[in-house]
Amino acid sequence: MSTTITGAATAVRPTARTRRTRRTGSIGPSGWVSIAILGVVVACALLAPLLAPHSPTDVDLMSASQGPGAAHLLGTDASGRDLLSRLLYGSRTALVGPFLVVLVSSVLGTLLALAAVWFGGWFDQLVVRAIDAVFAFPGLLLAILATALFGSGLEAAVVALAIAYVPYIARIVRSAALRERTLPYIAALRVQGMRGIRITLRHILPNVSGLIVANATLAFGFALMDLAGLSFIGLGVQPPTADWGAMVGTGMSGVLQRHPEEALFAGVLIILTVAAVNVLGDRLNERWEARS
């Protein structure tokens, strides 16, 4: 008897929570905290030249590997470069790369998925097969292959990741658009003689846009981690450009000599940014699910 009651009680709670989100349609406090964190990171990236106390690439071997102090707030790296300045400038590559990846893959993935859903038939099957084929390549592997061919650097990696992420967006948009297409209002629009492209762009796309934004946000986090990892192993952002992933790599020697500041600060910034992106993406996803 008691098990029945607890079972029912636990089951009711999430329903109540969903109802509350449905009414407000908000992303909740954790979503706003994430936006605030990301806002600070974006501001750092935009204002890096104003905020940075030193040049991010000026080598000063006389003051190498210093701990935090008055001259250098967060200390210096093994080449005597100011860590705070490098971290501030590093936010630029950390944001630009993933942003381009997500922009390209979202646009391509959405267009492919919507076209596949509307035309259906053999075209849909072709798109599904193509998506499966690209899905066979893990993003990081495709990016490594691209850097092998086109030389190390952010450009090749960004293009490769953008292609690798298309299936991820396309799959989600396709299944959502498929569901949307079966709804009575689409049939009503068709009966009224509205053209397929207009229905797709004016009605289906806006109705799945929340889902696209949510998953693009989540993809941003994955892209940031992949690109930082690539820079870490030396195939991404090249020295002397400041980059968080690369800084974790150059900070490894410091870790072994028991002053892990460089690797630690850069690592924490990566985790913080990705966590904020992930939480925001989750909240956006929940909001979309609650609305539909």
Binding site: T4, P14, L141, L149, F150, I233, L256
Partner: protein, 338 residues
């Protein structure tokens, strides 16, 4: 066309149950055919990539040095560069099928022998990481799903943070704490002999697993919560079935569907992540060899390792897909109709 799929599959369910064996066989055969098709496309991409890159394949072979015409002709003959691209591809593919991946440009050894001495380190780190992901991820997820409370809430908050930890950042933190500070584990190297190898692979495996453990835990928790709130579970509870039976028969079995698929995908995703982790810990596996070969432009090696990773990834995904179908008969019926 797609709209009718659901109705047909439910209506046809009792009837098709009887000949489920044939349908299943057909499904598995279809999946294997798809697997082969994807493998062929993937191999063409891996092989063809070299030819869309700026500069000819020859410049990679000569490393940009100027060579005598005889030497160039020799290289061309050795790598069959005079043949049309599709013929080169078929020759390469034929060799790969027989385990011949060509000759390394840098080491002048057969790629196969270079890879076979390194593959165990990679397999070990991935298997150990996968074990950590499955055990810890499912354990935490099931607990948090079935027993809501402050402990579960903090575990899920921690998982949210852990999901944002890239393997290489986790690796650096683990090295700083457990290798440098506490000295429990070695910093670098792959070790020699069974137990020593495992000892050397513990930190890499944990670093590789962190984000995936968190992901699988969250996924499992969400799936179980969703099932607990589902109508059929509520009905089962209100009928007075013991909670254990309801959880086993209705909640866990249904929740296992999405969890199994995505957990499998996550483990397949460890393949790519292991490249970075091997580099941090200098494990001497395929991933570290891949990064080195990329930097040295040793293309036969890069092609072979990429193909191996992609093949492993595709095979894993297909196995997951088939197992998923074995557990959930509705999937195969739905696919058959469409």
């Amino acid at each position: 066309m797609t709209t009718t799929t659901v109705e047909i599959s439910t209506a046809a369910r009792p009837r098709t149950r009887g000949r489920a064996g044939g349908a299943l066989l057909r499904f598995v055969a279809g999946r294997i055919a798809g697997l082969l098709a994807t493998l062929i496309i993937a191999s063409a991409v891996v092989f063809g990539a070299l030819y869309v890159a700026p500069g000819s394949a020859l410049t990679y072979l000569t490393h940009g040095r100027t060579m005598t015409p005889e030497a160039v002709a020799g290289l061309k003959a050795q790598y069959h560069l005079d043949e049309p691209l599709w013929q080169q591809y078929l020759r390469w593919l034929g060799g790969v099928v027989h385990g011949d991946f060509g000759t390394s440009i840098i080491y002048h050894q057969s790629v196969g022998s270079l890879l076979s001495s390194r593959i165990m380190a990679t397999v070990l780190v991935i298997v150990m990481a996968a074990a950590v992901v499955l055990m810890l991820g499912l354990l935490v997820g099931v607990y948090a799903g079935l027993r809501p409370g402050w402990l579960s809430r903090s575990a899920m908050a921690l998982a949210t943070a852990a999901m944002a930890v890239p393997a290489f950042v986790g690796a650096v933190v683990l090295i700083a704490v457990f290798a440098v500070d506490l000295g429990w584990f070695p910093v670098y190297g792959s070790g020699s002999g069974g137990l020593d190898r495992i000892h050397h692979t513990v930190l890499p495996a944990v670093a590789l697993a962190i984000a995936s453990v968190a992901f699988v835990a969250r996924l499992t928790q969400a799936a179980i919560r969703a099932e607990l709130g589902a109508d059929h579970v509520q009905t089962a509870i209100s009928r007075g079935l013991p909670r254990g039976v309801v959880v086993r028969r209705h909640v866990l079995r249904n929740a296992a569907m999405p969890v199994l698929t995505v957990a499998g995908l996550t483990i397949a995703g460890l393949l790519a992540g292991s490249v970075v982790v091997e580099q941090v810990f200098q494990l001497g596996g395929l991933g570290q060899f891949l990064v080195g070969s990329v930097q040295q432009k040793d293309f036969p090696v890069v092609q072979a390792i990429c193909l191996l990773y992609v093949a492993a990834f595709i095979v894993l995904n297909t196995v997951i897909d088939v197992v998923y179908t074995l557990l959930d008969p509705r999937v195969s019926l739905g696919r058959k109709d469409s």
